[in-house]
């Protein structure tokens, strides 16, 4: 019994957190040689700051949000960056807004929004038929989507702030009209500031934009091929 329990604990430790199954080798191989549309969508165009403030006799948790909607077209800019990153690992990628007529981009956004159910849980993507037809007409075989929640900044008195952009990576097979993959995709890191995490908002969010581009490139080159089971070396 004790030996079984030890084995169970060791297995749980070795396994760590559960990860989404990779694409089948057949689909992964097909994706590597297909035309891909890249998309990034940020659900909450804001930064949520959380801070633990040391007050000697107690600690305070404080929160603040900064809404940048209307001041930064984050979806377009990061979609272009994501497409470039996918191209740099060998995929034939184009930004989604380059392959969809302007009116249909809004339909695509609704398709993305529908991947989060009313209860907050993820729902498999069901592609709008007009969007799918337009993608097929442009010879797009797969859509690779990064759906991000919102920026999160964690700060503890005396320590550098940590920024994250929790995201969901999703692969949609346009020809078969089925979602092939969804899995958690974490991006983030430290952004150099002198005193306040909110310095990332200065000069039109300059530091946040630079950091986001770096995270996208790094994660696309490392975590994405690992998550999907792509052989980017060949």
């Amino acid at each position: 019994m004790k030996r079984f329990f030890t084995l169970f604990v060791f297995a749980a430790l070795a396994a760590g957190c559960a990860t989404a199954p990779k694409l089948s080798p057949e689909i992964a191989g097909e994706l590597s040689s297909s035309n891909v549309a890249a998309a990034f969508y940020l659900e909450g165009k804001k930064i949520n700051y959380d801070e633990m403030v040391y007050k000697v006799l107690w600690n305070e948790n404080r929160s603040q949000a900064s809404v940048f909607e209307g001041s930064w077209d984050v979806d377009s800019e990061v979609t272009a960056e994501f497409s470039d990153s996918l191209a740099s690992i060998g995929l034939a990628s184009r930004p989604i807004f380059d392959v969809l007529p302007e009116g249909l981009y809004d339909e695509f956004v609704q398709t993305v929004l529908n991947t989060r159910g009313a209860d907050g849980y993820n729902v498999p993507m069901s592609m709008d038929s007009a969007v799918r037809d337009a993608l097929l007409q442009n010879n797009i075989d797969y859509v690779i989507l990064l759906r991000a929640a919102s920026y999160q900044a964690q700060k503890v008195t005396g320590f550098a702030p940590q920024f994250t952009l929790p995201s969901l990576l999703l692969v949609y097979d346009v020809r078969r009209n089925v979602q092939q993959y969804d899995g958690v995709f974490l991006m983030g890191g430290k952004i150099a500031v002198e005193e306040s995490p909110r310095e990332v908002e200065a000069n039109g969010l300059a530091k946040l934009k630079t950091a986001t581009n770096e995270w996208i490139h790094t994660a696309t080159a490392t975590a994405l091929p690992e998550a999907l089971g792509l052989d980017v070396g060949s």
């Binding site: 633990m52 006799l57 107690w58």
Partner: protein, 124 residues
């Protein structure tokens, strides 16, 4: 020497009471900034205060709402619970609804060119 000790005790006492300040508030005090209606634009407000805590667009007017300081969402404190033991307590407030404009301290209104057209302080 006695004065020196008194000063040290005062500094130590003050720091015990105050601790550290939050660093996630607006980048300037909303009570100390001056913006000119008809002249100041959105970028100048964002560069002075940071971005707002709430944003609403209605009938071509964009409203930015700011709180005076970050919201207190929790406390962690320790109290003696025996001769050699201390118990840690935590009180957390979870926001279940998004921040509404009526719970901000200042609202700035901009026209569709991004020029400031009004300032409103709901509490006043």
């Amino acid at each position: 020497m006695a004065r020196m000790m008194l000063a040290l005790a005062f500094v130590a006492g003050t720091s015990l009471v105050t601790g550290c300040a939050s660093t996630i508030g607006n980048t300037a005090d909303i009570g100390q900034v001056t913006f000119e209606v008809g002249k100041t634009n959105k970028n100048e407000v964002a560069n002075t205060l940071g971005f707002p805590q709430n944003r609403v667009v209605q009938d071509g007017t964009e409203y930015w709402g700011y709180r005076g300081k970050p919201e207190l969402t929790g406390l962690v404190y320790a109290l003696p619970s025996g001769p050699n033991t201390v118990t840690t307590y935590q009180a957390t407030k979870i926001r279940t609804e998004p921040l509404q404009m009526d719970s901000v301290d200042v609202i700035y209104a901009f026209d569709d060119n991004g020029t400031l057209i009004g300032i409103h302080e709901p509490a006043k």
